[in-house]
């Protein structure tokens, strides 16, 4: 019955690059068509319109840290399934799918490096991994990054991109808000600077903890930033939302964030701030 013999395929796992299919991408703002390679080289900022696409965590590290200075920490941390969460898809399968898709272990990359020669502890969230949601791994890695900074007299920078807490880890996700914020209290008490960088989007449990606690809070242009999702607010209040509600520009006007800084100017701006804050420390 050779006709029914199983085919002798070998499976090869290919890491899919997280680039939109095709060679071109349309800017959602100006409708201009950009060559993907050009977009990548310009750190996912559309050259003419200045529209900021989301940037992968590792590319962000390259953007902000001095060449070759990044030393990753805690890269082996990965999610377990503490609730044995019953969903349409098992939690561990979701995590594996996200790992395959992104090549990351979880939604945050962290470590130390130098920024314009200054040592910094840097943690960067990756929205492409399950919407940057914060579970135990993200919370633990941020907390360690902060504690590392406190122990070595370094500033901390956290680049946020997250929809909020990770539902599948339930109450443990919520507790990461307390864990990270407590670590920031100790870092602050040591007189060290913390800069929070908000990118599109930064919402809910992340916004209601470390994202809002920077000595300086910087946002990229036109990022969605807030606590409750716009749809929920609309449904609850039955009111139309004001124009530009929950954007970086809205929050600058409303006094929450210190500056709006385009991605390509971010490193220089962070360097200047840290120089001002760390002068007396050296």
């Amino acid at each position: 019955m050779a006709i029914f013999r199983r085919p002798q395929y070998s499976t090869v796992r290919v890491k899919k690059k997280d680039i939109p299919a095709g060679l071109w991408t349309k800017c959602p703002e100006s409708s201009e068509i950009v060559y993907n390679k050009e977009l990548e080289e310009n750190w996912m900022v559309v050259p003419k319109s200045g529209y900021h696409f989301q940037l992968k965590a590792r590319r962000r590290m390259e953007l902000l840290l001095d060449d070759g200075s990044f030393e990753e920490h805690d890269e082996s941390l990965s999610s377990v399934d503490p609730l044995e969460f019953v969903d349409n898809k098992p939690y561990h399968a979701r995590i594996e799918a996200a790992q395959q898709k992104t090549g990351e272990n979880d939604a945050l990359v962290s470590g130390v490096g130098t920024l314009d020669g200054m040592p910094v502890s840097l943690a960067v969230m990756d929205f492409s991994f399950n919407g940057g949601s914060m579970g135990s791994v993200v919370g633990e890695k941020i907390t360690r990054a902060i504690e590392r900074a406190t122990a070595s007299n370094m500033p901390v920078i956290v680049v946020c991109a997250s929809g909020g807490a990770r539902m599948q880890e339930g109450i443990l996700s919520l507790m990461q808000m307390a864990k990270t914020s407590a670590a920031l209290a100790r870092h602050s008490a040591a007189g060290l600077p913390y800069i929070s960088v908000l990118t599109n989007p930064t919402m809910a449990g992340v916004m209601a903890s470390f994202a809002s606690l920077g000595d300086v809070i910087i946002a990229e242009p036109k990022a969605l930033i807030g606590f409750a999702g716009p749809r929920v607010i609309k449904e609850t209040t039955q009111q139309d939302l004001p124009a530009g509600f929950q954007t970086s520009e809205f929050l600058l006007k409303r006094g929450l964030i210190d500056q709006i800084v385009p991605r390509l100017e971010m490193k220089a701006r962070l360097a200047t701030l840290l120089k001002a804050f760390m002068r007396s420390k050296s």
Binding site: A189, A208, V232
Partner: protein, 364 residues
């Protein structure tokens, strides 16, 4: 932008307010039949607020009322029958409440007759002085607070408060705080630190209010600052979840040395309705979400998030509010006595270590 976000199924964006209670205060299905109220003589009368799973109890209660009415009208001696039904009611209640599902427990946590913070404050503490306002914008009545005495010793109370009537609920925003509630809470907690008073937090909120004004005045920042500051306050803090522990809105006054929870209360990262809407695209799956999220008191202890369960009277705290308050008072006394023995350093190190240990992950 909204569309692209809503497709991410792992994210609870929101801290949905639960179905808001619009009923008025006069439920009283456990009230004794009153001879002046002719409605009560209808044996088929349904209680104005009832839980599906308690239906067998309500049927027995109706039978009992009927029997008592008959005896009054016809001078029959039904003492034995009354006794038998009363025993049966207790047995039925025991049987039903021994095997409650998470969703059923949530119904109890949201029961409109459940004791609220002010009920406990009245029963447990002496001379509560409510202090109002955040000194910046307004007085948020969804969070109340002020000094009081516990067995003669001063404490600072910070508590979320729901309304009992429609009018009160509008004033208290159904227990959903705005940023000013959290800022008032911090003002009072810093006052407690200044005067060396332990802090008692009572948590009972569906969640922080998802409103336009709340966003404009930065409710996320208000919660974040509270969480950070509470981690370093130099006085003992005990937080008790007495009803609903709705996500960040609850955590904003719940960073503490000891975290207690009433047996039927819940504490969750997202409301079961919100979770169901995201995962299963429909709020009717809330019972399934309530199960999956592990938000009941026993699960929270297993996960290491809650230290101690405060027992409730059989059938829920609303069946016997005085007993529920007595249980809570005992738990507060015991825990406060233990915390008062600790040095400030031990207290702060312990609090840091407590939250530092929360979470589960693998590390190669």
């Amino acid at each position: 932008m909204d569309g692209s976000l809503s497709s991410k199924s792992l994210i609870p964006f929101i801290l949905l307010p639960n179905p808001l209670f619009k009923n008025d205060a006069s439920f009283g299905f456990d009230a004794p039949p009153s001879s002046t109220d002719s409605d009560r003589f209808n044996a088929m009368e349904k209680p104005k607020y009832s839980l599906d799973f308690e239906k067998p109890i309500h049927e027995l209660q109706a039978q009992l009322a009927n029997l008592q009415r008959m005896s009054e009208e016809s001078d029959l001696d039904v003492t034995d029958e009354v006794k038998a039904i009363k025993v049966k009611i207790e047995e039925t209640r025991k049987r039903i409440h021994a095997g409650l599902t998470p969703w059923q427990k949530i119904q109890l946590a949201r029961h409109p007759q459940r004791p609220y913070s002010l009920d406990y404050i009245d029963a447990i503490f002496e001379d509560f002085q409510e202090l109002h306002g955040d000194r910046r914008y307004m007085d948020d009545q969804a969070i109340i607070g002020g000094p009081a005495f516990l067995n003669g010793d001063p404490v600072m109370i910070v508590a979320q408060q729901k309304g009992r009537s429609t009018k009160e609920n509008l004033a208290r925003n159904f227990g959903c705080p705005n940023p000013e509630g959290y800022r008032k809470a911090l003002r009072l907690m810093e006052m407690a630190q200044k005067f060396g008073m332990p802090i008692i937090c009572l948590i009972d909120t569906p969640g922080a209010y998802p409103g336009i004004g709340a966003e404009e005045r930065h409710v996320a920042e208000a919660i974040a600052v509270n969480i950070r500051e509470m981690s370093a306050l130099t006085v003992p803090i005990i937080a008790t979840i007495i009803g609903e522990g709705g996500s960040g809105g609850a955590l904003g006054i719940a960073v503490a040395d000891r975290i207690l929870i009433l047996d039927n209360a819940y504490y969750s990262v997202i409301s079961p309705e919100g979770c169901a809407a995201i995962l299963w695209k429909d709020r009717v799956h809330a019972p399934r979400a309530a199960d999956a999220l592990k938000i009941t008191s026993d699960k929270l202890v297993e996960l290491g998030v809650v230290d101690e369960i405060v027992p409730e009277p059989l059938g829920g705290a609303h069946i016997d509010a005085a007993l529920a308050a007595e249980n809570l008072k005992t738990a507060l006394e015991v825990n406060l006595a233990a915390l008062k023995k600790k040095s400030t350093k031990a207290l702060l190190d312990g609090r840091y270590a407590k939250f530092r240990a929360m979470g589960q992950f693998a590390e190669a």
